[in-house]
Symmetry: C2
């Protein structure tokens, strides 16, 4: 499941340019479980074009740069289904935040407090971002899978935010205690 497959998936929902694909990954319904920048999307589209899994038509626009609109081919749809049918690979997660909280005792109380506050803000932003695309994903016309994936993301974010609100103070409390002990020495 690489960026090529991601592009196939997005194109299976409708034609798009590289720019639009990137927007769907950054802000749209894929944002909570995939990341990709231009530097991986454009090369991926190039390879898909080479192997005939997508087609491309150039569109000149006035008062806008030309754009290349990609559309998925029949072979592309088959390749997508193949990729989806492959044995489930485990999710890849690497959390700088959790790594940092694990070693919170090495930071100052001020740092810990900021860490928690920033993360809470980030969860709020993420939830807002996701709710902004709820209207396009959570309608009856869209497949159930889209609603499901969206709902699972929201649920997880909300559970995590709640945990932070419930337990964040414990981290700060310990940091303050350690600082008092240091001061006593």
């Amino acid at each position: 499941m690489d960026v090529k497959t991601l592009c196939l998936g997005i194109l299976s929902r409708g034609d798009a340019t590289g720019y639009e694909i990137r927007k769907q990954v950054a802000e749209g319904p894929f944002s909570h479980f995939f990341e990709a920048g231009y530097g991986s999307i454009y090369p991926a589209l190039g390879k898909l074009l080479e192997s005939g899994l997508v087609a491309c038509r150039e569109q000149s626009q006035d008062s806008r740069p030309d754009k290349k609109v990609y559309s998925i081919s029949t072979n592309g749809r088959l390749a997508l289904i193949d990729a989806l049918s492959a044995p489930a690979a485990p999710d890849r997660v690497r959390s700088q935040f959790l790594f940092t909280t694990f070693f919170a005792h090495l930071l100052s109380a001020r740092q810990v407090e900021r860490l928690i506050a920033e993360r809470l803000a980030w969860y709020c932003e993420s939830v807002e971002r996701m709710e902004r695309c709820s209207e396009t994903v959570c309608t009856a016309e869209r497949p159930a899978g889209e609603r499901f994936t969206h709902g699972l993301g929201l649920t997880v974010y909300k559970a995590a935010a709640q945990y932070l609100e419930d337990h964040g103070h414990e981290l700060v409390a310990e940091a303050l205690k350690l600082e008092r002990m240091d001061a006593a020495d």
Copy 2:
């Protein structure tokens, strides 16, 4: 936050061999937010040794292969704190599972059913794996950060598993409906 920093973090809790580090990442308290295999851990330890952030003593054992026990140096501890103090980088998540569920309408009901069941099993395993190391992480002697990180991971897994139990059937129901429609054609 790369594998080098991960090694520094783990070594800050006590000396370890490359093999033991890998075990902590695969099964220990780091398993839910970091991944690393031998192929990244050994080279990382090599680089840390070169730059003097860790020290290494060789230990021969009888009836076991020799091992290299690494320990963090003072500079290593400083480097770790530096890395922890760096501005929070967003978590990296790439979920094959969520990608697949998003496009569940392209799969057969059988495939969807298996997907959900396997994922639920995976969550159960993950929760069990994490609870197995609860005893070493969730004691009063360990820093609050370890308990916090552990608790957040468990909370998120449980919330996700609950969501699957609550909404997984919707996905299967749609798949069955699509199959009936196909059969009708």
